[in-house]
């Protein structure tokens, strides 16, 4: 039973502590440029951890209306004016950011990128 007290019990305590006190999140900032209704390859998946404070800085070449699913935020971006959208990554998951009604595809919902929030 020694392993019970030396290994398992501390592990359970640690897990409980982790669960109770969410990790102090980091500040994360991503600059995302929409060109021609797309974002660069490297920006197509934005990975953060739960607890992070995330800032997405958007620039665009055409006016765009975006919908960040799950966290359910809708916002507009206009050319020439970077738009800052920030949120606390509290729920884990993989959430699409969709471009609504671009000029090419007025009724479409093209997925621009995914925000992945991982368990810490």
């Amino acid at each position: 039973m020694r392993w019970m007290t030396t290994r398992v019990f501390p592990a359970i305590c640690a897990a409980l502590l982790l669960a109770l006190s969410a990790r102090a999140g980091e500040d994360r900032r991503f600059e995302i440029a929409i060109r021609d209704n797309q974002v660069p390859e490297a920006m197509q998946v934005v990975r953060v951890s739960r607890g992070d404070h995330v800032e997405l800085v958007w620039t665009t070449d055409k006016p765009a209306r975006l919908h960040f699913h799950g966290y359910d935020m809708e916002f507009q971006v206009a050319p020439g004016t970077p738009a800052v959208v920030d949120f606390d990554a509290r729920a884990t998951g993989r959430f699409p950011v969709e471009l609504h009604g671009s000029s090419d595809n007025p009724h479409g919902h093209d997925t621009l990128l995914y925000v992945e929030v991982y368990p810490e």
């Binding site: 919908h67 699913h69 966290y71 935020m73 916002f75 970077p82 800052v84 729920a91 884990t92 998951g93």
Partner: protein
Amino acid sequence: MFLTPVRIAAGFLLLAVPAAGAHGFAQRYDLPVPLGLYLGGAAAAVALSFVVAALFVRGHRVVESYPRLNILAVPPGRWLASPWLLEPLRAASVAFLVLVVVAGFIGQQNPYRNLAPTAVWVLWWVGMAYVSGLLGDLWVLVNPWSASFRWLERLYMRLRPASHFGLGLPWPRWLGCWPALFLFTWFVWSELAWPGSDIPARLARAVLGYSALTLLGMFAFGRHAWLRGGEAFTVAFGFLARFAPTEYRVTDPSICGHCGADCLARGECIGCLECFECAPVAAREFNLRPWAVGLLSHRPLSAPAVAFVLAMLSSVTFDGLLATPLWAAVSKWMLYSQFMRPLIVGLQEVTGHALAAIATLALVAFLVAFQCLYWIFCALMRAVTPRPSGRPLGLAEFAGLFVLSLVPIALAYHLAHYLSFLLIVGQYLIPLASDPFGFDWNLVGTRLYQVNIGVVDARFVWLTSVIAIVTGHIVAVWLAHVTALRALRDNRAALLSQLPMLALMVGYTVLSLWILAQPVVEIR
């Protein structure tokens, strides 16, 4: 740089998103299962298969019966089964069906603000499958079409005693459950490929059409004949419920001589609604039993039943494949390929959308490929099985005997695939309970409930999914071994026969895990 902060209240909001047409209704926010967990799960499945096989190498008692506990023998169980409880439950089920159809037609057409899509796809289809597989055949109790037809039947008999309600056409033997398979395939298509599936009015029209067809079928062939051979969901939930830890059974074989299901050919009368309804109370049992034992079949399933089970398994897997990057690449290729163009353009006329046309093609191809693959493995099984003595088993017998042993893998994958979906999208039922039509009502004060997307943690979903699939796999391997031993009555023959089956099961399990390890990509 001059920044204009666009600050939006973040957090777990469900603000009325401006009705921008139909959103992808089945939006899933699952994170891909990490590589290590995926490989670990796959390795565990393979290793444990050999452990199960090894148990049988040393000789294994043929499992002929299992422990069961009749809960109708004790008062609380009898109260549960009393008509005073069941009839109101059925009335509620019929009322709910009417409510869903009415909501679909007259309610707001935003799928999140109308009861119809959530009620049909989340509560009924995903939820009922969970209940059927884990608890028991609830659908048999609450099927609104069966219930309403029975009321009509009773009313008619009261008005004109000594007459028969319905046309009383005989159900041809060769027809089996082919009509149910056809309707189930149509249903799967409407779930996975039909663009109208999340538009409330179109969904309501489909539900209404299916209801009319079901009532007509019962009127023509009789309620039980249609439920057995034509009602896709009675058949589908019935197969899932064979995994469940409950069964209803009739203990007096003299009653079962008359039913159209030929239920005694299976050895015992389990899960035959017709016999159960006409049996005297003393001959009825509602038993608790171990999980999965209902999938051990004494007699091979008929050809349409085999096809039905395979269609169920493959449609669940196909649903998962539709959200993988692999599918995104395939559909893109099909969209731009000159070779596929005429076919897709032609189908587009029917489905109204090129992507729906592609999904339709792929669905049909996948269903057919899955059937072929299973039959090939059955042929292999037949080829490697030594024939000790007595009559050797034919190909159809192999196929009919072993198909049910695949059900636990499919059920486990279904649980894993829809776990977070059920827990997150299912929450929409809370605001919808107050405002089923999207008219800004607030009947029970929950209209402003905000869906909590953090209700399940990704790590919990990962672990539950992988554990469920590995467990399903072990149960499947065990079922197939027991079935082989029962059918072949020879240890060595049974073990050898299981080599191809084991390969098929490992392949199916690893495919299921692989899909869960893919990032969810929804294309529209």
